[in-house]
Symmetry: C2
């Protein structure tokens, strides 16, 4: 089998999600920084929005993170849970992470990134943090007392670990009232895949 | 097998996409208007954003259109093409329709909807139309001279038929230079599924 190549931006949550999936599946993959000048043509040709992640495997070029995850499921059969109900639940929570959680955190991250604290628009940061907090009760209810969102480590774990990891790095904590989400995140950080895939520029804790 | 129930907004492109998939698969489904007062609790309980489409089947409640399509594939095995490469391509073009094509048309539709022509912001409409036109070369290149985007009628046909159908209803035409896309759309409109699923408020041609 040809080697999997992932064109990657370390601090991109969609890339981190894919890195976690690759690592949890134990796949061999070449992780290539998207800015490497000699490698840009290999991925930019295929990505209509010139975005990463892009995964190349043999003749395939896959330029959407959720399609990359469906592909990893297709070739391994181990990324999604066994039962149909769990597979649907895994996809739904994954989507929720990409949309609701992602949109809230984007406000905080885009405001704090590349600015000094004195330049921050604190109202924008507060609004993003509040949107993040408002999105959590649904997740807490979906998780309940389970170890994982859908039977076992799957799409939600890859997606939300990356989101919560970036949130923490940018000073957004999961409030204490969501004890099950906090405990879940601690369990995810304790897995070897976390330190092996976390972006170097993002501190693992503050 | 329990009957499939689709909670539906006729003019929503995500709902139309799902209706096309259901009809093309020949599935029995109860299509329920999302505004029906006596039926709202049946779907609003499950949809965290209170959005449609929501598909209910047995104990499952699925509130994201792309997860609904993956579910229809899971239970029928006939919504996605046979080959792995085609299945990935089908998902990629489907995503492109939901994001790039959808975002462009939203500008036009939201501006024209519920307003008289005298109230229209013509600059916003022009910008949306231009974004739509800029998104088409990639699609035209993906389609080439094929009958379908990925081997056979699949996700891209469901997604793009709904988008192009709404575009046409709102006065946005596929420019003549994209002859293959125009011919593809005419073929899609000629299928029985089109008239059977088109929203009644949207004229089939202008």
């Amino acid at each position: 089998m040809n080697v999997i190549r992932l064109y990657n931006k370390p601090e991109c949550p969609f890339c981190w999600k894919v890195r976690l999936a690759i690592r949890e599946l134990g796949l061999d993959a070449e992780i290539i920084d998207y800015q490497t000048p000699s490698r840009q043509a290999e991925w930019q040709t295929f990505s209509p929005g010139k975005t990463v992640p892009v995964l190349r495997h043999g003749d395939l070029a896959i330029y959407e993170s959720d399609v990359i995850l469906e592909y990893l499921q297709e070739i391994t059969g181990r990324l999604l849970p066994e039962s149909l109900a769990d597979r649907i639940q895994a996809r739904l929570v994954h989507q929720y992470s990409d949309t609701r959680i992602g949109a809230a955190l984007r406000e905080v991250i885009f405001e704090k990134r590349d600015k000094t604290p004195a330049q921050w628009d604190t109202e924008r940061i507060a609004a993003g943090t509040e949107a993040f907090n408002r999105a959590l009760p649904f997740l807490a209810q979906q998780l309940g007392e389970q170890d994982f969102f859908a039977g076992r480590h799957s799409l939600p774990e890859c997606a939300l670990t990356a989101r919560f990891g970036l949130a923490e790095a940018y000073g957004v904590e999961i409030p204490e009232e969501f004890a099950n989400l906090r405990a879940w995140f601690e369990r995810m950080k304790a897995r070897p895949s976390f330190a092996l895939t976390a972006p170097p520029a993002v501190p693992l804790s503050r």
